[in-house]
């Protein structure tokens, strides 16, 4: 799959400051085991050569269908999963092969918010304890100052200080997600990976949480890797958007360019599938046929060739690489 290797799209001035997160040719293959002896009979190519970077205070939206490897990218970048190949750099430091102990100080720079606000908080700890734990693990301050910092975090994410002694199940979904955000913010990270942080919430609460995240970004200059499948949410929060299909990035551009001028046929279809909240608009919908192929046995050549309406002969032979179409708008398609 080496042909899928691409160049890192430059988005910030590389000379001034290394990007907060720089992922190069990241791969994560899960072995498929079978039988009593657990022989490996194949691999799930969940992430298959992904390259991107996120600059300070920026938001990169990562979109794609379910099962395309978005969450795996997030978790591998966090070193919650061990990458099969590729490198992960945090503010210029390569953390790909650091041991658990060596990695600990770098954990302060990157944090994660999960999708499910019900399983992401330990039901046996109070909200205060949950938010305080990062400070305690990284030996920041003493007990009194930790308590003060926790209070400040509660204020910051819009929770009342009196709620510190409550347990997670006493909060609503949106409030729980705020606790998750407070926990992620406790260490003042440079990067927060949001793994579909609002997908499980009601639409009205989604807006609140998204706006909170954007306000916090402005205040604290934190960068987001925002993983989602909801295009409207991604359009609202992102500066740049990467579209993933079956373990690879197929298109990358800044938000405006991507939404106005999608180049990849998959992006086109994705955008046309998103509802527009105006019943008077009639448009030609490009509806994709078929399902996403199995990541255990991805198609040869371009991964999208099984569903692409424009696929030609070479699409079945040669995998396209990401090509720059100007202004950092890159697309992996032979035809565009």
């Amino acid at each position: 799959m080496a042909e899928a290797k691409t160049t890192a799209p430059a988005q910030t001035n590389p000379a001034a400051e290394p990007p907060v997160l720089e992922v190069t040719d990241l791969k994560k293959h899960f072995p498929v085991q079978s039988g009593v002896l657990r022989r490996t009979i194949g691999h799930v190519y969940a992430v298959d050569g992904v390259t991107f970077s996120v600059g300070r205070g920026e938001t990169l939206g990562l979109v794609g269908e379910s099962g395309c490897g978005k969450s795996t990218v997030g978790r591998t970048a966090m070193r919650l999963l061990e990458p099969t190949a590729g490198s992960i750099k945090l503010s210029g430091v390569d953390v790909t092969h650091l041991s658990k102990e060596e990695l600990r100080p770098y954990r302060r720079q990157m944090q994660i918010i999960f999708q499910d606000p019900f399983s992401s908080l330990n039901p046996r700890m109070t909200a205060g304890e949950i938010v305080k734990e990062p400070l305690y693990i990284h030996n920041i301050g003493d007990n009194a100052s930790r308590q003060e910092m926790t209070k400040a975090l509660f204020d910051r994410v819009g929770l009342r200080q009196a709620q510190m002694n409550n347990y997670p199940h006493q909060f609503s979904g949106g409030q729980r997600q705020r606790i998750g955000i407070a926990r992620a913010l406790a260490l003042n990270p440079h990067l927060i990976v949001g793994d579909e942080p609002v997908s499980a919430l009601d639409v009205s609460i989604q807006a609140q949480v998204i706006n909170l995240m954007m306000d916090l970004q402005e205040e604290m200059e934190v960068a987001y890797l925002f993983i989602a499948h909801d295009l409207a949410v991604v359009e609202h929060i992102s500066d740049y958007v990467a579209v993933m299909y079956l373990g690879r990035i197929v298109e990358y551009a800044d938000k405006k360019t991507l939404f106005r001028n999608p180049l990849h046929p998959y992006t086109e279809a994705l955008l046309s599938a998103a509802p527009i909240p105006d019943p008077t608009i009639r448009r030609e919908k490009k509806i994709l046929q078929g399902d996403v192929p199995s990541p255990v046995n991805p198609p040869k050549g371009c991964h999208f060739n099984t569903r692409c309406p424009y696929a030609e002969e070479r699409c079945f032979v040669e995998a396209p690489i990401l090509k720059d179409k100007g202004d950092g708008h890159t697309v992996a398609c032979h035809l565009r």
Binding site: F114, S119, S120, N122, R124, T126, E133, I137, Y167, L187
Partner: protein, 341 residues
């Protein structure tokens, strides 16, 4: 003592389960009382006032000569001669039941076992020992044995289950097969064989039963751990750089505790039953020890003396019932939905 709000609510929930709360209370009172069995049923008085000096025979052995007797052996306070000499020069204060569990009553009106009466509330057994006294001491040894066994086997079982569930993979696979094979061993035969090699006392028996009882909790803790380790809050803890041992004890174990604690009273009840069963077939505590199982065995051998079997039966039945009811209240108290709703 200050309690955190959560513990205060737990106690409130515990009390809200009336049946369990009272069962726990009654059990606690009985257990505390049995711990002071020497002051309830004994063949020695608490205090002897003799010749202006205070003697405490429960704590110290006095020779008969101390009370004007003839022998240098320990005074037998139940002997009318000794008692008479003490009453000449002072007085003595007796416990409620004037028999120790091993005291043989020589002055029975009929051949032992004799039925309940004024001097023996629950009658005597076939060796002319007071049943009430044996019941109190037997209750104590059963419960103490049960507690000790539960504590040790849950320490081993919880740690094994936690490690297995948390690390999973090959370790888990091998451990599980080992436990299956171990569980397949015929427990009773091995205990009987071992009991014929060593003379079983309290600690030997505890060790032998522990060989098999520790596996009881492994399954529960392992299952809870397997579930918890894939939850997002464990991932979040990993992302924070929390070490494996801290994740296990701070995040995984507390979430496995409800299932574990719910099991404990039932395991305690199980341990009491096992000891009773071993005593009943004669492979338990050494001969002469007071035990509920031995009382049942006597009841079986002396069907003409139903007070033996009935006492044993009611004692075990009420002990197990109290433990199960108390266990239910404990489970409620640790249920977050009940405690925090």
């Amino acid at each position: 003592m200050t309690l955190s709000p959560i513990n205060r609510r737990r106690i409130a929930t515990f009390r809200a389960n009336k049946r369990g709360y009272w069962a726990a209370l009654v059990f606690a009172v009985l257990f505390m009382a049995s711990l002071f069995a020497e002051f309830i049923a004994n063949d020695k008085p608490f205090i002897v006032m003799y010749d202006g000096a205070i003697h405490m025979p429960v704590f110290k052995a006095y020779p008969e000569t101390a009370f004007g007797g003839e022998f240098l052996t320990e005074a037998d306070y139940r002997d009318p001669v000794v008692a008479g000499k003490i009453h000449e020069e002072g007085w003595m204060l007796w416990p409620l039941i004037r028999y120790h569990h091993a005291t043989v009553a020589w002055d029975l009106p009929a051949p032992a076992p004799t039925g309940p009466g004024a001097s023996h509330v629950l009658g005597t057994d076939d060796q002319a020992r007071d049943v009430a006294a044996r019941l109190i001491y037997g209750f104590r040894i059963s419960v103490l044995f049960g507690f000790t066994l539960v504590i040790f086997s849950s320490i081993v079982g919880v740690s094994a289950g936690l490690v297995q569930g948390f690390y999973g993979g090959w370790l888990d696979l091998i451990f599980q097969r080992f436990i299956e094979i171990w569980g397949g061993l015929p427990q009773l035969y091995i205990l009987i064989i071992l009991a014929s090699v060593v003379e079983p006392n309290f600690w030997w028996l505890l060790g032998l039963l522990m060989l098999f009882s520790w596996t009881g909790l492994v399954g529960v803790v392992r299952a809870e751990t397997l579930r918890a380790r894939n939850l997002d809050f464990v991932r979040a803890a990993r992302a924070l750089g929390v070490s494996n041992s801290k994740i296990m004890f701070r995040h995984v174990l507390p979430n496995a505790m409800v299932a574990t604690i719910t099991f404990l009273p039932f395991i305690l009840a199980g341990s009491v039953t096992t000891l009773t069963a071993l005593d009943f077939i004669g492979f338990g505590l050494p001969p002469g020890s007071p035990s509920l199982g031995e009382m049942l065995q006597q009841g079986k051998n002396n069907l003409q003396a139903p007070w033996l079997g009935l006492t044993g039966f009611f004692a075990i039945a009420s002990l197990l019932t109290l433990l199960v009811f108390a266990g239910e209240a404990v489970r409620d108290a640790f249920d977050p939905r009940k405690t925090l709703a």
